[in-house]
Amino acid sequence: MEMRFLPAGDEALIVEFGMEIDDEINRKVQRLADFIRSQNISGIRELLPTFRSLMIFYNSNVISYKKLIGKIKHFKNDKEEGVAEKKKILCVPCCYGSDYGPDLKEMSSRLGMSTEEIIKLHSQSDYKIYMLGFQPGFTYLGGLDKRIHMPRLDTPRTSIPAGSVGIGGNQTGVYPVASPGGWWLIGNTPIEFYNPQREKPVLCNAGEYIRFIQISISDYESIQKDVKDNKYNPEYVYE
């Protein structure tokens, strides 16, 4: 396994594992992040895992670039033997169509596919969180079924409500905060991917998975109420 060490100034280092978006490359990024966290190396300020590389922010008064690389070279990219890696999957309740997913109908006619089929395809995969970025809590997900890829909207919307579930190109994801955007909106989740007031402001971590679970409007409203009352606990499955 090749690791490329690329300096990003005098206080950050990028360890690159490849050039493409690829499940195995991304897994190496996650494993290196786990390794570094387990080593408690003094001088490391924070880690930023992305698609194909790990950015390491460090304090050069405490540890030099050279010494840091020396520590990282101890990383052996071996899977722990006999231990199958379990996926941590966040179940994301999603109300598809109607006002929650205003583009679902148009998408259905463009694709010549029923809305039920689109929902089935969208909710049957487990999507890997390759990284977070762009906005607080925005997850870059891999694994969208080819049959429901959609080119971005010709005219992006100026405002999309938080919780919107969309499809753009070969990607799907959830808008964690209200923002402009050019994705096709197929549904909305009542759970908060980002809430700065919460003890853990951002729900997801890179390396985990997301599964969308179809819910009714009345389920949506009851979960939304629980979220508001701080009574909702995110549901995870491990497979």
Binding site: L6, P7, A8, G9, D10, E11, A12, I14, E16, M19, E20, I21, R45, E46, L47, L48, P49, T50, F51, R52, S53, M55, F57, S60, N61, S64, Y65, K66, M131, L132, G133, F134, Q135, P136, G137, F138, Y140, P176, V177, P196, Q197, P201, V202, N205, A206
Partner: protein, 306 residues
């Protein structure tokens, strides 16, 4: 104690050292653009490092306190006055209840920092008091300061006043033309020799569209081998990305955490302060230094070795 904002200035925000530990969740660091001036302002009024201060951009604020206070300002020269009497940068002043502290246009530099003994008390959000404008979070209600706002000032041991008032540091003078040190990479191999040559040997102008997210530069087009697009990776304060138009952007305190443009070089941390003070139209050029020399130099300066 309260500080009342009688006139907000053009872009006034509450800032501190920055918000760290949340980059992996898509939350950038924010914090003072010119950390050096911010730290000195705090130090002058006896604050511990990390207390929140006000950052002014181009036009400063007018403020009044409802109790006596110790203040200091650093960074850009903004013709500050207390009740019409001029005050200097780099020196603490006592201001009495009801007196008015005013700031004008930046006449040298771009950003000034006003520190008040006791610090500005805003809620800590994700370990920091910094305002993140893009995420509308932190600082004073997640937004820039507006006329009519009232900021709470933390407690301060007034018996230290006389000692504090003796503090003094030299006020900086900013040049209209700066050369900043950079370390090549992480994606310098995306550029042709010609492109690297252009970057290191020509001068760029600071564009008026620059802001806390990034300093946009205009000048000669930087040639890439096969375009600037990369599969997004991490960004730091000082990353220099080159967009598809071939023009560089230096990513600053409010940078996004990840980005899909190749980054030709990264500004060394000590030189970010000069960029934070660069005004639209100022000239910027780049000098390549080696990372090892930088880190050796830093250790020598810290421990006083030659």
């Amino acid at each position: 104690m309260k500080m009342y904002i009688e006139k907000a200035g053009s872009l006034t925000t509450v800032q501190d050292e920055g918000r760290f530990g949340y980059m992996e969740y898509g939350v950038g660091e924010s914090g003072a653009m010119d950390r050096y001036s911010y730290r000195l302002a705090n130090k002058l009024v006896g604050n511990e490092n990390g207390e929140a201060a006000l950052e002014f951009t181009f036009i400063g604020a007018d403020v009044v306190f409802n109790s006596d206070a110790i203040i200091a300002y650093m960074g850009a020269e903004m013709n500050a006055e207390i009740d019409g009497v001029s005050i200097k940068r780099g020196k603490p002043y006592e201001i009495y209840e009801g007196q008015k502290l005013t700031f004008g246009f930046a006449i040298n530099g771009l950003r000034a920092y006003l520190a008040v003994a006791g610090g500005i008390e805003v809620p800590v959000v994700m370990d920091s008091r910094s305002t993140n404008l893009k995420c509308q979070m932190g600082g004073y209600m997640g937004r820039k300061i507006e006329t009519g706002d009232a900021l709470t000032i933390g407690g301060f041991d007034y018996s230290k006043k006389d000692a504090l008032l003796k503090n003094k540091v030299e006020a900086p003078t900013y040049s209209d033309s700066i050369c900043v040190r950079v370390i090549k990479g992480p994606q310098d191999d995306y550029f042709t020799d010609e492109g690297l040559n252009t970057f290191f040997n020509t001068t760029y102008k600071v564009s008026p569209e620059s802001d806390r997210m990034g300093i946009r530069l205009s000048g000669e087009t930087i040639e890439s081998k096969n375009g600037m697009d990369i599969v997004s990776d991490g960004i730091t304060f000082g990353s220099i990305q080159v967009t598809s138009s071939g023009q560089p952007i230096i990513l600053m305190a409010d940078h996004q955490t990840t980005g899909g443009y190749a980054k030709i070089a990264t500004v060394v941390s000590e030189d970010l302060q000069y960029l934070a003070q660069a005004r639209p139209g100022n000239e910027v050029s780049f000098k390549c230094v080696s990372l090892q020399d930088m880190q050796k130099g830093l250790i020598h300066r810290l421990f006083g070795k030659k």
